[in-house]
Amino acid sequence: MFDAILVRPIINMMLLAYKFLGQETVVAVAVVTLLLRLALTPLQLKQQQSTRRQAEFKPKLDELQKKYKDDREKLAQEQMRLYKEAGINPLGGCLPALIQLPLMIGLYQGIIRVLAATPLQLLALPQNIYRWIPSLSTLVPLKSQFLWLDLAIPDPLFIMPILVVATSWYYQKLLTPPATDAQAEAMNKQMMLMMPLMNGFFAATFASGLAVYFLITNLVGILQYFLFRRSFASGAAAADAATKSGATGKSVKRATSKS
């Protein structure tokens, strides 16, 4: 079901992009990643805005927790009232993420399957190619050479893993909402260290086609951020206006400075 709805269309989109854009695998991966990320942009913006607004709302929530620490029912009521007044949906950050997640997994799986780094993966590919689109099968296997890379094997020069770590770190930095307390800041720091390192480890261990995917995803994400940063910041500004107080000066400054 997941394959039929998501993975197969992505695989065939990739083959079409490969066919009509110079038969370059990296170009096909980049174009399909870009298209899907752009399609997901409204959801991502909504999620980012919601995350930032909630982050800036945290001091108020902390105050409520302190005030009603012995009365959970009252605490819940007050929290809901606060959310309502500010026009924030407490699940607003989760829902877009839940919708995006299967799409991103579908994109990832589509890329991995179409790259068919191992012979067994190539064997699974014909079942995923639409026969009603003429001559897609003749494109397989996709060209695996790109610059110094053989997309089917790990990068022997470790250039791709390094690029993946660097872009992952920067992308993470852009997306991380300003911390409102020491614990959140520590968490942010850890995320900014661990996520890039983990991506780098996968990029170094698996076929370099995967590293290309990570790199393109990060670059598209960074590009997206700068294209839509006004929207990212406006969410924070709206939150600030709604709460009128509570948000730290540091976080407001950071959120608005990017607009």
């Binding site: 997994i105 067994l120 064997l123 001559s135 099968s137 003749t138 053989d150 089917a152 661990m194 076929a207």
Partner: protein, 391 residues
Amino acid sequence: MMGGWHRKDHAPVARRAGGRRAGLWALVALLLAGVMTGCAGGLRHESWPGLAVADDTLYVANLAQVEALNAQTGKLYWSFPATPDKGVGPFYSTPVLAEGVGEHGVVLVAGYADRSVYALALGASPAERPDELWRFSEARGQFVGTGTVADGLFLIGNGDGRVYALRLEDGTKVWEFATRGRVWATPLVVGDTVYIASMDHHLYAVDLATGTEAWRFKAEGAITATPLMIDNDLWFGDFASIFYRLDLATREASWTFETADWVWTTAVHDGDRLYVADVGGNVYALDPASPSVTWTASIEDVVRGRPALSEDGSLLFVAGFEKGQVHAIETSTGEVRQSWGVQLQNPGRLPGDLVTDGDQLYTMPILVDERVQAFSLASGELLWTAPGTAE
């Protein structure tokens, strides 16, 4: 002072937060690893193991080891390397036996990730552990295809698009021939010409002595099937779902047949008819003389491995990859026999070629512990497995 006080004051909170963070990270790492390995084929690299049989001995390229087994019992004679070595294999390439090298011949096999060809000098008895005679590690890509022996050379294609001609005695490279795609098909040697099928859509005719190109034929799709020579024609299929008869006199396709799916594997010839299977599980019997299609059958499973014929040619055995079952097809009618073969509880998957020695049919399933299974050709009864029932 302030810093010290600050750290001390928050230490229990930080520890709790650290514990929660560690748990969160473990969860994220597990999820990511699950997604990654689910798509990348698992942490253990599975391959399609290959098997060659000679003098009642099976030579098996199994994951990261080459093994010699007693063909009657499945008893293990030796493994190379003696214990699995991360630097060796895994193997897709089937072992090839070459006589006239060393005292008792050599077995040649090529690894996938290690990109190396190994020549193992056999001992006087099958049970004697072989010595590594030479190793060739100059290829830049992975070895998937099986090699062939001709005129004192070992010829094998590589994922770097090249075919390497290595001197059997010492592994010295005599020549290499470059194509623009991976070479997974076994080079076919006829006289002084090597026919090389490449995934760049071409079939090349190359001089055996020098490795220089004589001519090339362009197919519609990638070619992984080794061509089959009948009279003066080469027969092979490609990923564009076309099966060709290539006339060597004109160097053009004199007949083509459209299959329902990719043709990955080499056809089988019984001296009269030609049998070819596509990856969609369709099996075709062709009359090469007319040429025409005699019958078609379907095993309703993915087919990657080369089918095998029974001793008398009355049955064609075809391995279904996903369901892990061997199907017996009547060669006279194309009828798929329902009763042949035991139904294993966990059959695994069958990507490899089927091999027979006249009495037994050998399969090499993956994703199961019993990596080699021997069946009676007559009844389909399971005779032994290795490891498992073998003593």
